[in-house]
Amino acid sequence: MAPAEPLTAESLRLADPAATVDEIAERLRESVYKDLRRRGAVVGISGGVDSSLCAFLCARAFGPERVLGVLMPEGESASDTLDLSQVAAEAAGIETVLEDITRLLEAAGCYERRDAAIRTVMPEYGPDWRAKIVLPSLLGGSRYSLFTVVAESPEGERREARLTATAYREVVAATNFKQRVRKMLEYHHADRLDYAVVGTPNRLEYDQGFFVKNGDGSADVKPIAHLYKTQVYQLAEEVGVPAVIRERPPTTDTYALEQSQEEFYFSVPFDKLDLCLFALNRGVPAEEAAAAAGLDTEVVERVYEDIERKRRAAAYLHAPPLLLAELERSETPA
């Protein structure tokens, strides 16, 4: 059903951010204390706006003394990742632990396996090279999205090669170690403190499957999974996430060459995609969404299709382990 008000870029802004913050804090307390019966929260902080906002919301809900921020940089993290993570934690007033995960990743063969996969399509790719995976923009035409590896030699020379299906899967499987190792450490700290693990995806990421199953997709509670990215920025400003974090472009921070989320997964700028997702969820026709987002109707139609396609692919990521028979059991007393 279309909303009564015509769609504009302002449509998904929260009317009362302060009230939304209070509501989330209340629900976090209920979820963690009553449902999960844990006494605080662990948040993996990346220096991005999502995890920073989660740290602030947890500090608001439980008190900063019951929140632990885990900082988990690795050899290929952006140079400002650690600094920004510390800025966020300090501003939220929470304690942190630093866990450099480089050696764990080396032991798992993360870098070695990934580099071997890249070399199958780019034989000259060496250990000192840096790489990222990019998708062409959906704004450009009706081509299928093809994953391309972009690599830079130590001398600064750039090369590009289209990934084969096998190479793509190998690269993704290897780099997924990063998110899974981080989650393992978050649960380590949660276990020793009797805390719950907080997942930090926003609505776009959650809906579209932009997370690693049993990696950053794993958590006990996800306080901002219902918020559009635009709303995340709004709340981040409301709770006092420092401007240096709010003004940083969204990044995956997964590959050594700097890579925006747009290049890797979303194919259109997040603010436009945010509005398209909101419009699609409300049954707004592509033509009206196009006018609000400043895009051509054809582009919005492609974005709508892409959203539906990613949702289908994300079903596997969201699926819990499937049981093949119903389990009979007695009622657990409350």
Binding site: S142, R143, Y144, S145, L146, F147, R162, L163, T164, A165, T166, Y168, R169, R309, R312, A313
Partner: protein, 91 residues
């Protein structure tokens, strides 16, 4: 050079062998959109490209990776026919 019928049979066999949904009793019409029916996803497109390049010894350029060339059995059959003809002509 293979006939369109032979190409179509090979494409159908490739889809059936490699993508679970098409193997699960789903009969694809020649014009069904493979993406819309859910037979292949974006990684599946890469697999399809790999299959065509290897089996028919042709190179597919990025600008040819279009739904009108790859999104249905009819489109793939026509596209492969054109590519192999061009390749034979060039060779």
């Amino acid at each position: 050079m293979q006939s369109p019928d032979a190409i179509e049979q090979e494409v159908r066999r490739f889809l059936k062998d490699n993508f679970p949904l098409s193997a699960d009793g789903v009969v694809l019409d020649r014009d069904d959109s493979l993406i819309e029916v859910g037979v292949i996803d974006s990684t599946g497109v890469l697999e399809l490209i790999g299959f065509i390049e290897e089996r028919y010894e042709v190179q597919i350029a990025d600008e040819e990776v279009l739904p009108e060339n790859l999104d249905s059995i009819a489109n793939i059959t026509r596209f492969v026919g054109e590519k192999t003809a061009a390749s034979n002509g060039a060779g």
